[in-house]
Amino acid sequence: MSRWLPYPLLSTGLLAMWLLLNESVAPGTVILGGILALGASWALIALRPAKARVRRPGVAVRLALMVVADIVRSNIAVAGIISGLGRRDRRSGFVRIPLELRDPYGLTALACIITATPGTLWIEYDSETQAVLIHVLDLVDEDAWVRLIKRRYEQRLLEIFE
């Protein structure tokens, strides 16, 4: 299994991408895509990337749906701020959030989530202090943001990746 299929997730992803690009599920496309996906994952052995383990696919799907909903909600919020509908005394600022998440893939996912939701911005992660600095456009309560990011996203990413 591991010898023939060293990176099952990557191979599946590549095959799915190939099928989507070709817009067909004809046997020929599947076979060619399968060969390419396997070949690419064997080539990747040379680079020895750390293996990603997704433990709870169910949680991952729920997290993805939640993030899509959050993206829509924060788009509306930021559009409101820009068009001047928000409060006059809006304040933006930095928040430092200590993280328990260590897995590089988990951190990447968190960075993508935070950047993809308008209004929050991933600034820098310090691997020594294990804290991330984010910039918030509409900062009301720093502790509320720390709680939100930790409970809503980090908790679930910990379940998925660690």
Binding site: M17, L20, I82, F94, R96, P118, L121, D126, T129, H135
Partner: protein, 120 residues
Amino acid sequence: MTHAAELPGWAALLTALFLLLGAALAFTGSVGLLRFRTFYERVHAPTLGTTLGLGCVLIASMIAFSALQSRPVLHEVLIAICVTVTTPITLMLLTRAALYRDRREGSDYVPTRAPRPNDH
């Protein structure tokens, strides 16, 4: 080369709706880029166009081409995934460069580096 006339009414309406919504979001983002005062606030604004704005345009494209070709056209999903995965890289490069500069200049707006256990 336009197929707009072949598009059924309901699809044309939905396509137009999503396209306009996406364009409006991208425009709002650009206005924000202009109106905000500091660099860090400004970087927030264009993300409207790259997230929901992009999503709306892609949904419009999916509806239009699925209706024209009478089969689901889904490869726009790949654009959404690739953009979402790559935007943080550019954003981080930009913000970290700004942060580095501000710290070098001793600006009191940006927070200093967190204290480390082995600092003297």
